[in-house]
Amino acid sequence: MSGHSTYEPKYAAERWLDKRLPIVRFGVDFMGFPSPRNLNYWYAFGGILTLCLMAQIITGIILAMHYTPDVDLAFDSVQRIRRDVPFGWLLQPMHAVGASMFFLAVYIHMFRGMFYGSYKNPRELLWIIGCLIYLVMMATGFLGYTLPWGQMSFWGATVITGFFGAIPVVGESLQQWLLGGYSIGNPTLQRFFSLHYLLPFIICALVGLHVWAVHHVGQNNPIGIEPKSKSDTLPFHPFYTMKDAFAIAVFLLIFALFVFYLPDALGHADNYQRANPMVTPPHIVPEWYFLPFYAILRAVPDKLMGIMLMFGAIAVLFVLPWLDTAKVRSMRFRPITRWFFIIFLVMGFILGWCGANSPDDIAIPIGEHGMSFKWVSRIATLYYFAYFFPILPIMGWIEKTKPLPDSITKAVLSGDA
């Protein structure tokens, strides 16, 4: 932790405790940690994500009290939760919508980090732990989506576990080992439930490391220069607890809008059909938060290549700190790269749009035949990777950045922060 402890126990009981277990001191120092004074609302997503994780764990533990992981009973048990269990109508959508909200927040949090260069020295490990959390979140989300045992659950799981079958030589045995049978069945559902319960606690442990790392290196900020004096920082509490609390309230309004008025808007209607291994839905789509990666998977005609590109799209995030060669952190001072980043963001949305549609359908009606979603996703995939290499390494060398302010305080006082 930065700085020395400022806690002074006031009462005898506090002193007694502090001498034996300085837990109050830990909490006070933890919450008072000096934060740059210019953090904007994009920095509230750390707090929002903590809330999301807690909400998912609490609702999840409750749902597990009523859910039955058995191929014959799972679908009905989820319907029973929604219809018969007291407040099940509230708790089940909170968990399902909560997953979407969690991903929404994590994407904003990650893009914020990318825009302000929060992955750069000395925050490389902080960023990598974050990427690991995202990876485990994706696994958790996928496993959880299988549990209601609807058509999309079943076929989504079939497609995803099919990835392992594409591995040369060992693929088929590996796939059978993962599924516990020749195809997705009861053993698969039971192990998915077990792992879906486990992984959030792994996420908790990783979040602990993530928070420890951010307390050690300090938060980045919108202008990306390190705090130099005491006037550049504010204690996290009460300044940012209040700011985060307001952001959380706004976030909860959106959350509540979905839970109470649109509980199924983010899901797929086919998942209200019981899983049927004899019939594939006409159009398999993953949850919205996986759509860009699904589009990358389908952009290439070769199965193994598609899988490698899809995993590569996530793997490249881990080496981002070394691909971006620029010394200046914040995109605010990088007039050209900023636009490359904005295009990257747009391409992400385009990939999501492609992932939601059939590859051979026409996306853009231009030319004689129009452009299919497959070709749009190919272009967007190409840009996705090009942003990381060679755009970022080259821009780091050739771009002339704008002059950085002398200090956070000066920037704040002159209105530039």
């Binding site: 099919g162 080992w177 020749y182 053993p187 006409p282 398999i284 070769d302």
Partner: protein, 189 residues
């Protein structure tokens, strides 16, 4: 132990080195032996493997129909092909295929040692990501460009022999292990 056990003036391994290595080796074997059941328990259980074979009565199918039977959690397609479909499958230049296989290679001889090219038995699972291709009777022309099956997930087209012709799937629809146990009954698996 005396001090002379701790080292050897020639730099040779001492008894203590031996004990360290022996301890580490035993611990490694022990950890491996403990890990093995933890990993292997995830494989298909005995009852799952035991349910691995079924019998299908072919006499129930008439020309142009397709039977779908669940085997090992996956559908098996039994297709009674029309003469036009057989001719179409034979007319294909095998060398031009992604997964080259003649139509005849996709059959098992019946009890009298003859190949009945009318009855095509395949696992109805797309070799791309495991979806079920469509192409039941009457839907053929509407769905697949090659008169056979079409996978709605990622757009793979299979011909009337179940061979991959277009799209991302790498292989033909697989032919399961099966044998004729009488003139009209096959045993799959």
């Amino acid at each position: 132990m005396s001090d002379t056990d701790k080292f050897d003036e020639n730099g040779e391994p001492t008894r203590r080195d031996f004990i360290y290595i022996a301890t580490a080796a035993t611990a490694a074997v022990g950890a491996g032996a403990f890990a093995w059941p933890l990993v292997t328990q995830m494989s298909a259980a005995a009852d799952t493997r035991a349910a691995g074979s079924i019998e299908i009565d072919l006499s129930k199918i008439s020309e142009g129909q397709q039977l779908k039977v669940l085997w090992r959690g996956k559908p098996v397609f039994v297709r009674f092909r029309t003469q036009a479909e057989i001719d179409a499958a034979d007319a294909v230049d095998v060398a031009s295929l992604r997964d080259p296989q003649t139509d005849d290679d996709r059959f098992v001889p019946n009890t009298s040692g003859v190949i009945d090219k009318r009855l095509l038995v395949m696992v109805g699972v797309c070799t791309h990501f495991g979806c079920i291709p469509v192409g039941e009777q009457g839907k053929i022309d509407a769905q697949g460009k090659f008169g056979g099956w079409y996978c709605p997930c990622h757009g793979s087209h299979y011909d009337t022999s179940g061979r991959i012709r277009q799209g991302p799937a790498p292989l033909n629809l697989p032919i399961p292990e099966y044998t004729y146990i009488s003139d009209t009954v096959i045993k799959v698996g």
